[in-house]
Subunit: 608 residues, 2 copies
Amino acid sequence: MCGIVGYIGDGQATPILLEGLKRLEYRGYDSAGVALYEDGKLQIRKTKGRLTALEDLIKRECVAGSVGIGHTRWATHGEPSDINAHPHVNSKGTIAVVHNGIIENYMYLKERLQQEGYKFVSDTDTEVIAQLIDYFYKGDILDAVINAVSRLEGSYALAILSTYEPDKVIAVRRDSPLIVGLGEDGNYLASDIPAILKHTRNVYILEDGEIAVLTRDKVTVLDSLGKEIKKEVFEVKWDVEAAEKGGYQHFMLKEINEQPKAVRDTLAGRLPDGSDVKLDDIKLSADDINKINKIFIVACGTAYHAGLVGKNLIERLAKIPVEADIASEFRYRDPLVDEHSLTIVISQSGETADTLAAMREAKKKGSRILAVTNVVGSSVAREADDVLYTWAGPEIAVASTKAYTTQLVSMYLLAIKLGLERGTITEDYAEMLKSELRQLSEKIQKILDNQDTVQKLADNNYTAKDVFFLGRGLDYSVSMEGSLKLKEISYIHSEAYAAGELKHGTLALIENGTLVIALVTQKHLYDKMLSNIKEVTTRGAHVIAVALESMREIEKAVDDVIYIPDCAEEVAPVLAVIPLQLLAYYMAVARGCDVDKPRNLAKSVTVE
Amino acid sequence: MCGIVGYIGDGQATPILLEGLKRLEYRGYDSAGVALYEDGKLQIRKTKGRLTALEDLIKRECVAGSVGIGHTRWATHGEPSDINAHPHVNSKGTIAVVHNGIIENYMYLKERLQQEGYKFVSDTDTEVIAQLIDYFYKGDILDAVINAVSRLEGSYALAILSTYEPDKVIAVRRDSPLIVGLGEDGNYLASDIPAILKHTRNVYILEDGEIAVLTRDKVTVLDSLGKEIKKEVFEVKWDVEAAEKGGYQHFMLKEINEQPKAVRDTLAGRLPDGSDVKLDDIKLSADDINKINKIFIVACGTAYHAGLVGKNLIERLAKIPVEADIASEFRYRDPLVDEHSLTIVISQSGETADTLAAMREAKKKGSRILAVTNVVGSSVAREADDVLYTWAGPEIAVASTKAYTTQLVSMYLLAIKLGLERGTITEDYAEMLKSELRQLSEKIQKILDNQDTVQKLADNNYTAKDVFFLGRGLDYSVSMEGSLKLKEISYIHSEAYAAGELKHGTLALIENGTLVIALVTQKHLYDKMLSNIKEVTTRGAHVIAVALESMREIEKAVDDVIYIPDCAEEVAPVLAVIPLQLLAYYMAVARGCDVDKPRNLAKSVTVE
């Protein structure tokens, strides 16, 4: 995720761009920049750091002009730095581009352009776009843009400004959001509505493949073939605060609903046809992989729960013993880590103090480190030997949702990779799993489309005093995450239990009306789970099951069921957690809790 | 633990003995037997099974007489069987012995007697006593007994009946309880008061080394040198129910208070001088031990918590990777167990269905099995390759206490054994740990002597709605057990947390007045724990710390402190859990809960 803005009109562009970027900082904040057209030249100001750093820079090095584009970045390709900040320009300095998204074939395009003599200065995929437009420029900037974007694979929202036709800002999108604001004194462009709400409430919401050409007094929208289309004006009724949350009541709900995209982005380019998986940033050779005799997965909180699923999957697929451990415990217990170990650390922010400390401990003992993180250039990413990025975009809500599902997806990618390299799974099996992964995004959407059901259950049960989550195997790991969500935001004391373990003590807590959430997505454990459900229903528990669509007969055994689409049981965690996130969210809302900022908690825990 | 009874008087002995044994069944119930003197001969009736099996046998094969001894067994040496049931007799059938305790040097004595031509029919240590008395018999049975017991090492309460002087029952004890009842129509002998309460309330409570000679109208008590001493008559004021619990309000409290003895018994004979540990029933050779490349510890509930301590200790001392797992999860996750694995299963009853199933799964995969159990001849013990018995005696209360501490002790014994065999610890270190283990029993007693403090804290806090237990490292494992105890018997929803992990989510549940129990016994984690305590106190939590005596400065940081005696941090779990057991107990009592039989739970879970 990144934020982009654009302006062309009668006023000064700089304050409008900076104000717009401020409203988009939730989409990224590791670097920022603007490009304005002034006196026949493009003036670029860009810098690493939050938006205030850019403001300071502009104070020192003023820039004027009534047309410009701007960007606030959440690094994907290339760490946060002045050079990698947007806008990016072609070598001649005549075309400036800001970009939100990931160009999957940028390496191929970059090499081709290098053969043509193009020189690159940054590590980004975006610079390739500027050069590619240059390559296609034959006197008509719009033609050049249309030609260039037709060669791009991946996701993008782009704003382009050139010295060739400085009275135009061109915008185009695919799989990344972009809107056009229709103002009195000019026209606007932005990733999201809050950026322009101060100036206008009339917007075009661009669809995939559409191209908008903004001039001072007009906006033309073309389809991907270059034919003009008539767009309907959408009148924004939200206030600024609601607009920042995309119309959702809370960032958490917004982020829950972003999961189809986050999962798709994290898989993008990594699942080529056939059985292979492609993990660019991982330099582990086949030989390295075969030498690993033990894997440690070390993390905290939600990321630790993703690690538990990782343990299960890696052991199952790659037959390497895996130990998942809480970072604050791992660090102080002198674990048996050595140079044949691989330590996988998982941290959304990449700055979690406990995880960092544990990682350094493992490194000192000679272990190779593989980081799974959401933040390019974070401490964890910098210090690890290999990095597998989740592409969830910035997560604002304290309670993690889309970071978790993308961490899960990373575990699958890794497990398949390791299994294939070690020859412990067949190619057929790998292809089956890949096909299941490709379907996840759509299946998550299907669950989200049905969130009313979950909300209704939440409204009926939000007064619960204690809640127990039950599951076996992978369902147990997901239970732990479901329970943590509920605790974090609703302050209900909930606890997850391996379903078979309940009778060894905690069953004493079950009394008439106790709420139990039972996860039933593992077909081979279905009968055992039914027995455990029976144990609690006979003690009077009120049971909500999360089950596969094909398990309709479970309705006889429980009070309520939330169904998730059928899937291979290996990938069920990614689907099963969605209703649990929603349940926690709606129960917390019903209880009147401050969902996005739960008491006592911080988003990223940078103290031990 | 076993139960013994004796009677000599004017009435029929059989019903008196059977009635007495019934009252002692809580001490053991795997086999039972009686010996009576009738027509110049000893009549023995004994059988495997509960007391009803003996009653049936006696109905079929009547036995009469006014002098006799009886026994209900909890197997230690030799599995439950007709042959191993007590009484045991010498080969001539002239001396019958019933025994409660463990003779540590019985193998040595047995071999010596075999060299003298004695033949043995059972696997028990008790048969050795009968033969040894025979060996020393030179015309005076009392002399023979005194000579024999002076050769015994270990613990025993004995009742002896012989054809040589059939108007006498001789009784002697060391480290196992024994009382004499002074009746109108005869005199009585028993392991515990309830067995004789129907007949008399006047008793002698025998002390270590004392010998009692019972005749029909008199009881003489001698000291270990054979000199008569004057005993004071103790008048029992308890009713039968209270007497069964040794005067305690509940079995659980009785069993908590039995822990010094249970720990001592479990260590008995296993800690010879020097660095070695002696584990008779473990046939693992040095070679076997060196070939182990992975250990799995598999158990349920409380036993699983002991396994977590085992993991820490074995990894620390023997440098073998250990994975502790919940049995019901282990079984179904296709764990990476093979012929180089050692699987340690822990089960008090030895019949826990989940543990049994997990054990069979591991066995099928080629793993060697080592069982830690409290019940000789149990399924787990029979099917394992090696057995390490805990000598806690029967545990009646559903909430396990003395079984846990003896399981912990077993983990230490194993860890030291493995560490020595693999050369990963020095002999000095082993000796240090052994010395710490030897001191445990006394230190537990010191904590128990101070239980008023804990009771007071329980009385002040029993209305708590939610309780959190915090600890790091070994303290975390103990926290889990403390939390489980509280849940099981008080029905308070409590949860244990790795102290460093709390801030990654659950901290949201801490509000003004929330009760937090913080374990602080690990010196190297002291500062970190203090920070975590600070995190909760600043949110208003009421904190009770369990800390070492030498950590007085902790008083400044918390509301209350329960001190345990200073000790090496490795063995601290055995001490730290005692106040947690007491706290759970007294809070449950204050809440009016049925402590010994908590709702929904069974003592030994023989279903999955």
